[in-house]
């Protein structure tokens, strides 16, 4: 793909520098507890970036992010707990399963216009949750399945896995959205009829975007299962987890790729520091997201851009 290398060089260099700087965090006295929050925040960042590929670029609100994440997580967990394969094979299978499940879900759903796509994806999560609870003898129901294997025990290694995954996801997605494919996808998101008139096959582009999103969601879901040591519905297959992913993307900055990382880390920090507020913490996070949505449609990253270019 011929990408304008000049335009992506600076953000890429920045990403590498930030990732390398973050990679030494475990060795400069960051506590294990903070490290575990950061690790979860980074997995969350991958979910959020993948979600924003559909929302920000393809213009589709996918309420079924946890359907893809859950497919990855449960595939890996089921394979591992039945002793079928080693963790890395399980993770690969989880990512593949998420892409297949995503394609089966999205191919017919993407032909639907308007709110129908969002609905189908929302219903997919509800169906999956019910099925998991129904077959609780295999899936552990609401309690979840314990995963016997681990990829790494050491918290620094786990942090590096999450960091590496987030960095790779960010670079691949950034490269993708700056490529001709990404530009066409953005055009489709902003004006589907005109894009169709120009001869682009809307369904094909959206389906590809959905599969990319599914791949990273499933991969992160499977890796996070091994990090947590368990796959349960409240962590992986839950409409409210989907809402948090959406909030992270909006707060961080829609259509920016890097914004959702900021948003996800913000969410991880917010859920820690707002814990004294009890049940009001989710309320305040939703409120912040709503205010950002109204007054700062570019999110946190949009704010940075505004400050840099005073007009």
């Amino acid at each position: 793909m011929n990408v304008n290398t000049q335009s992506i060089r600076r953000p890429m260099v920045g990403l590498v520098i930030v990732s390398l700087a973050a990679a030494i965090l475990p060795y400069v006295g960051l506590q294990e507890y903070s490290l575990s929050i950061l690790t979860l925040g980074l997995f969350f960042a991958v979910y959020s970036m993948s979600w924003d590929l559909l929302f920000g670029y393809a213009g589709e609100a996918n309420f079924g992010a946890t359907f893809l994440i859950g497919t990855g997580a449960y595939t890996a967990a089921l394979m591992s707990s039945n002793g079928v394969a080693t963790p890395l094979v399980c993770v690969a299978a989880g990512a593949a399963a998420a892409v297949i499940a995503g394609a089966i879900l999205a191919f017919p759903a993407l032909r639907l216009r308007g709110p129908y796509f969002g609905l189908v994806t929302l219903v997919a999560v509800l169906i999956m949750r019910q099925l998991i609870i129904l077959f609780s003898d295999k899936t552990g129901g609401e309690i979840g399945i314990a995963v016997p294997d681990v990829i790494a025990l050491d918290s620094a290694t786990n942090f590096h896995i999450a960091l590496g995954l987030a960095a790779v996801t960010a670079s691949v997605l950034y490269f993708l959205v700056k490529s001709p494919f990404g530009l066409i996808l953005e055009a489709i998101g902003q004006d589907p009829i005109n894009a169709q008139v120009l001869g682009f096959n809307i369904v094909k582009y959206k389906l590809t975007a959905f599969c990319v999103s599914a791949f990273f969601s499933g991969l992160a879901g499977a890796l996070m299962t091994f990090y947590l040591g368990t796959a349960s519905t409240n962590v992986f297959v839950d409409a409210s987890v989907g809402v948090q992913i959406i909030i992270a993307a909006i707060v961080g900055g829609r259509r920016t790729v890097f914004g959702p990382i900021l948003g996800a880390l913000f969410m991880a920090a917010a859920s820690e520091y707002l814990r004294p507020l009890g049940s009001l913490s989710e309320l305040s996070v939703a409120l912040i997201a709503l205010i950002v949505l109204f007054f700062l449609p570019g999110g946190l990253l949009g704010l940075v851009r505004l400050a840099r270019r005073p007009s």
């Binding site: 969002g118 219903v123 809402v243 049940s279």
Partner: protein, 290 residues
């Protein structure tokens, strides 16, 4: 057994029909899918439960206040979420629907957390208003369930009468067909929207009270109620009130049949699967226009 399924199916379908007409009306007139629908229902149910139980109000007064809660939330949704979104941000049509979905979803979370902060996140149900049971086709049924079903159909009929026979109702119908033409006729579109949201809130409020009476509601159960309402509306065809009524009965019977013949734990599953199949085969719904 079969008559039992038919009778309970009829009762539950009546509530579903009432609980979704407001949702359809709103979509037909404003083109908005309000994801906070189920939480609005839950809020009215919980308010009535609180006023009746803890505050010891007269049941009928409590129900009236519960319906008013629905109206208030409907108007708040319009004033705080929908109108700012349309006036503050100049969105393209394609962007507007995803932003609308996301904004109403965030609003759902806010409502839900406020409710569970004040009342606690526990399922509540409103006691039956009228004690006793009667035989319907040889099936023992609580009197108040029959009353609830009757009331639902009366309200739906009244709504139909209002929209098709009164001047104010015709204005709403006109707003759904051609809003620009309506403005040219000198009608204040904003006022029409406020009336629609108030009617929507009233319908949702009443439905919430009835749902709380028969099934029970909880703050975090709101999203699932929205999903049920959403499925019914889409199955019937978005914006088609007649289709919604038929779909409400279909879903009601399928759910009841599943609960009786298979297991109560998979009650909602077949309806969701049928919904997906219908969407794939006939995306405009059973009775929808393209």
């Amino acid at each position: 057994m079969l008559t039992q399924v038919i009778v309970s199916g009829l009762l539950i379908s009546a509530i579903y029909a009432l609980a979704t007409t407001g949702f359809t009306l709103l979509y037909g007139v404003s083109g908005i899918l309000n994801l906070a629908h189920g939480t609005t229902l839950a809020a009215s149910g919980i308010a009535t439960w609180y006023l009746m139980g803890t505050a010891q109000l007269n049941p009928f007064l409590a129900i009236a206040l519960g319906i008013l809660t629905g109206v208030a939330i409907g108007l708040l949704t319009f004033v705080l979420i929908i109108r700012p979104l349309r006036t503050l941000m100049k969105l393209s049509v394609a962007d507007e629907h995803v932003f609308m979905l996301v904004a109403t979803l965030l609003w759902t979370i806010i409502l839900q957390e406020v409710l569970s902060y004040i009342f606690g996140d526990v399922p509540v149900s409103i006691p039956q208003l009228v004690p006793g049971t009667i035989e319907v086709f040889g099936v023992r049924t609580p009197v108040s369930s029959v009353l609830v079903a009757g009331l639902s159909w009366c309200v739906i009929t009244a709504l139909w009468f209002y929209v098709s026979k009164t001047r104010s109702g015709q204005t709403i119908l006109a707003a759904s067909i051609n809003p620009k033409g309506l403005i040219l006729c000198g009608v204040n579109l904003n006022a029409v929207h406020i009336v629609v949201w108030a009617i929507y809130g009233g319908l949702a409020g009443l439905a919430g009270v009835l749902v709380a009476m028969i099934l029970g509601v909880s703050p975090s159960g709101g999203l699932e109620l929205t999903a049920t309402a959403f499925s019914i509306v889409v199955l019937g065809g978005l914006g088609s009130v007649g289709g919604t009524l038929i779909a409400a009965n279909l879903i009601g019977f399928i759910e009841t049949g599943t609960a009786y013949f298979i297991s109560p734990s998979v009650r909602t599953l077949p309806a969701l699967i049928i919904l997906i199949i219908v969407l794939y085969v006939r995306p405009q719904g059973l009775f929808g226009r393209r």
